[in-house]
Symmetry: C2
Subunit: 378 residues, 2 copies
Amino acid sequence: MTPTIKDVAAHAGFSIATVSRAINAPHTVNPVTLEKVRQSIDALNFRPSPLGRQLRGERSRLIGVVLPTLANPVFAECLQGIDELASAQGYRLMLMTTQYDADRERRAIETLREQRVEGLILTVADADTHPLLDELDRDGMLYVLMHNDTVRRPSVSVDNRQAAYDGVRMLIAHGHRRILMLAGTLAASDRARLRHLGYTQAMQQAGLTPAPALEIDFNADELAPSVLDHLTTGANRPTALFCSNDLLAMVVMRGLRRARLQLPEDMSILGFDGLAMGELLSPPLASVCAPNREIGCAAWQRLITRLDGTQQQAGFKTGFNAGFNADFKAGFKAGFSETLQAPSLSLTLPHTLREGATIAAISDTSGTSSNRIVPSLA
Amino acid sequence: MTPTIKDVAAHAGFSIATVSRAINAPHTVNPVTLEKVRQSIDALNFRPSPLGRQLRGERSRLIGVVLPTLANPVFAECLQGIDELASAQGYRLMLMTTQYDADRERRAIETLREQRVEGLILTVADADTHPLLDELDRDGMLYVLMHNDTVRRPSVSVDNRQAAYDGVRMLIAHGHRRILMLAGTLAASDRARLRHLGYTQAMQQAGLTPAPALEIDFNADELAPSVLDHLTTGANRPTALFCSNDLLAMVVMRGLRRARLQLPEDMSILGFDGLAMGELLSPPLASVCAPNREIGCAAWQRLITRLDGTQQQAGFKTGFNAGFNADFKAGFKAGFSETLQAPSLSLTLPHTLREGATIAAISDTSGTSSNRIVPSLA
DNA sequence: GTGAAAGCGCTAACAG
DNA sequence: CTGTTAGCGCTTTCAC
């Protein structure tokens, strides 16, 4: 089958040791020999097997990535960021998705560890109460979380509570009083909880009454009639919806349009994530934006820096804290706001507000101009 | 560092062979011994290294995936399909993106081969004239193309020419006469060419004059003024645009809206790809839909079937054509329309037309109601 | 400048 | 049922 170093050696008439040197340390071998070996390599189309190398104790240059899904572009955007740096730095990525399922998370991590990845970049449902992560910590397996908003573990995310708070404040500033938060089935996730907390705080601070998050079935083709009722009828119906993510916001928008609501006149919508695609919508979706690509990049940087740290430690080539220092410096240089209990585990990237056209200003304190139902374009 | 089979053997007080058997053939080892070994495995948190196994000539159960980008959900959708089957069947995926760059394609394939993947699933810029694919063929490395529309190589795609033809026919049926095709910078790709061919044929058959595809810079924030001019001014300006993919359609739509055109009144838009997200747009994007997830799934099936075929061949366990037959059967069962020169390399999945609201009917043969410029919502 | 040999973690004969 | 041993592809001393 695939040629091995032996085949090359035989073909070239030298020992495998010489072939190995020709590949890894060309200057240590006689130019004439080198040339012959190279020709044999070409002739046989030989590629050194990383397996042999890795087995020999070398680095695998393999990083595991664990994501809930790729159907949500948030994660695709992160992955883009990771992938870019990875390929630039000669690493390979091994990808597994979990569909937010704890069991699949477990299997993914296990599989990846078996593959001897040097580190993991992951987004899990709930970071704080995750036995697997404790296990990683215990075993000294390097990892960085993305989007999981926790100070207890190495992570990169926005401040979900603050971001949601800011977003809802914006809605309030536009005159909205009856604001409802909608969440997907991932209501169990750490970030969904924090976003709801931010919503609650913003509401309370404005003297308004927060409500529990209304859970929406993400994948349903239509909004449930009960939900639609809740959103559209009664004097207390909300004038604005804060959706826990952009995809949800889009699904809800479609549902409301089908129910013949005008957007944003009959209902304002604020999403969360800042999907690039949201800007292409009409009207462009207002959103609390996370820098998804940058989150991926930052997670990568943190991981690699820590990896280099342990590598160097292992080699006794540098001081003990090199990893942490470099890490800290990198974060600082990139303008990250790192909490001051340095070296902090969690890295918080700044969020931004995208004031799209899905938010209407409310002048009347009653909250809405009328209950007129107007046919929409669709 | 990570415990090896040796550590387990030492800890349990048995030989490494027994440990190996305890893992791979539990029934062949004494229950008491088995229990002890298992306890040691747990105690040390041992995971067998696939490296050792693979090196030993076992299967790597690793499949390489090469995609242009994840920024375009088309590919994310395919990957979802692949990933689902892969994880269900105990395979791991190694992902590399190329950004449509031939050099990166080369590097990706090389890297993946070095990792000893058992097969490749890829989307390349141009399948027919791809020296790397010839190399794969020559070396007996299994691969399946996705979206690349060629009969010369193992591939899964829609019939891009026919699909584009059908789409443009639909525009014509709605009364459009001046239809322009827009393409991204990937005009060099095989499918973009075929789509333009379909456009050309549909136009000609209707006695209309096809135009060369207008190339659009995909990533630009705005449409170039010259492009905008081309689309919006003059008596011969088009009434409908056929965009070579949905993402491009969305970018163009935004550009037109910013130029204060009403959609679809002032311009009809037809995309290609059938992104799930397109349905969430307002108005929902009309599109020539490819079954992206299914394309991923079908590519996976083909690859694995062929892989099993060669495995079995290698083991002399079955007839020579087992792979092909199973392959054919699978395709048939799934309702695929396989060309009859069996066993065909290329598998063509059916496309569908999504008649979104971005297409307006034209009654007047002059092609447009007026040139009135009306402020849009945004 | 080159080769022989050991060993990385594991599996699979083959003995016992 | 269990242990011994060879060998997968490669790098790396250590001799020559």
